[in-house]
Symmetry: C2
Subunit: 338 residues, 2 copies
């Protein structure tokens, strides 16, 4: 099949690789209808994560089931499915506690930016839709495989509540989905920290009531001024850098929680500040499967439209250009069509 | 007045210093009936915190109001009061949100191990009892000024719930009070991590259902075995060292929260483990005033008896011996009578 592979920093190629096959009775193979590039794909792209030369890349996908293993009974060839980036059996103690991202049989989508991808725990992981899917819905359904569920997890972990004030640190696709989540969960004020006009505009359309364009100390000061010196009731940290984490803790009010979903890179948590101000940290890798049924309903009902984070669509052949566009911030998020 | 002062590591003296006076209309002066030595006093005693030579020490006290400032209307000379180690106005936004330890007018008891001590925000901080206090209740009331409220905060921050499993890391007075708190909050299983026979026995009397004497990897393995490999639903970290924090995160199940109340010393939070396993951190310096009315009821009703953590009572004159006894772990906690 045709699949995206990474060979070195900034060396992304469309290659021909063997088709994935059923390797366990719990597997399924999905033919990808739409995939995309994630902010976290930029870590290896920029050389900040190690690279296994020539490995396939991409963990977000929606598509149609091609083949299932012997133990997969709820899905069959032809089903349209959303593929969570993190695969789970949905029956182990961690899954039953709503932490599917710590499943005893955790797996990951590893060839999302390709024609076919394997799902390790298909029965527990996949969610299907009934009937035919309107092509216009594809971007929003694709967003559910990671960024929308991840932004939702940030809001849940941060304890966003009806009537409160939420700050979203990060204006990437996850941060923007965090704005959607904070809005759906009833935050009265949503302060988006964003420097880019296009992302600010989208954040406002998603429900942000205020935008803070300043960063670091000036950004913290601006949020504190907006909150009467008190700080925010909930903070969504959607980046994963030390700078973003520090900003998140500085704008959080005592007793509140920073919900973090950006994969931490070079982060040193400010433990004494957390202790002194009683600011908690919760979150982590999103248990996508936990939120999928609810989020799918919200998309199908037209209540949320996270697919709007995709501002560039490219054929899979042009995946390298997609990485460049995201790396240079010419695009918020790139959708790929195999 | 006679007051405990610290001059250098292991140099604790009973000195004569000027009496504290009313310096602001919100102050009160309390004549100390009972004071004690805290695990956190051992940090400067052991030279692990900087020392201002000759400064008074001690932050836990109960006593009788001696004098109040002009703006203190709810208390008068003769009232028996519990003095929270952290003073608060109990009216600012942080106090109203239950985080009195981040009060806009935060103050601290600084001469607890003395004949008299000043309370900076008397109206907001103090809690009094009606009528005469039975001397036998004094230790438990004294425990409310810090350790019992701090152990309670650990349990609340960790999200201890009816029917769950809680692990308490640390068998000092705070950890033992954490066992009381977990028991009162309905934990079905309480695993106390303790190496000392006397403390293990007290933990069991306070409600611990199991004791793990091993430390580090062996301790973690023992807790995981007790919890079917899953980990605990809630973990109370009552020490503040890097080792204790690491143990806490290792025994916490995915999706759970470590409630931390030990002042962090040399702690580096395991951020990637927290992210990967979705284990949160909450807590910090305890908002004693928040819990005081409820804890006072529990003591007066005889439901809890945290004063049992005091296993050595000394006259204030022998405070230096009290520090030695705690430093050498000959005593869990030392009560001082001025």
């Amino acid at each position: 099949m045709r699949a995206t592979t990474i060979h070195a920093p900034r060396d992304i190629r469309l290659s021909t690789v063997p088709d994935p096959t059923i390797t366990a009775p719990t597997d399924a193979i999905v033919r990808v209808l739409a995939a995309c590039i994630c902010g976290s794909d930029l870590w290896p792209y920029r050389g900040e994560n190690p690279i296994d030369e020539g490995v396939t890349i991409g963990h977000e996908a929606v598509g149609v089931v091609e083949e299932v293993g012997a133990e997969v009974t709820s899905f069959r060839a032809g089903d349209f499915v959303i593929v969570p980036f993190d695969h789970c059996d949905n029956t182990c103690p961690h899954c039953l506690a709503g932490v599917q991202s710590a499943c005893d049989h955790l797996g990951f989508t590893t060839s999302g930016q390709a024609e076919l991808t394997r799902v390790n725990q298909a029965e527990g992981s996949l969610v299907k839709t009934e009937g035919t899917i309107d092509d216009a819905l594809l971007p929003s359904l694709l967003a559910l495989s990671d960024v929308m569920a991840t932004g939702w997890h940030a809001a849940v972990a941060a304890g966003v509540r009806q009537g409160g004030t939420a700050v979203v640190v990060g204006d990437g696709a996850v941060g923007l989905c965090g704005v959607i989540a904070a809005h759906e969960l009833g935050a009265e004020r949503i302060i988006a920290m964003s420097r880019h006009a296009d992302r600010q505009a989208l954040a406002r359309e998603f429900g942000a009531t205020e935008v803070v364009a300043e960063r670091d100390d000036a950004g913290v000061a601006a949020v504190l001024e907006l909150t009467g010196g008190v700080g925010a009731d909930a903070v969504l940290e959607c980046v994963g850098t030390d700078q973003a984490i520090r900003t998140a803790f500085e704008v959080a009010r005592p007793g509140s929680t920073v919900g973090f979903v950006g994969v931490p890179h070079g982060v040193e948590l400010p433990v004494r500040h957390m202790f002194r101000r009683n600011i908690g940290l919760a979150g982590g890798m999103a248990p996508v499967r936990r939120y999928l049924p609810d989020l799918l309903d919200r998309v199908l009902d037209g209540r949320i439209d996270p697919g709007r984070v995709f501002d560039l669509t490219l054929p899979l052949d042009e995946v390298a250009e997609g990485y460049r566009a995201m790396d240079e911030r010419r695009a918020i998020k790139v959708l790929l069509r195999p």
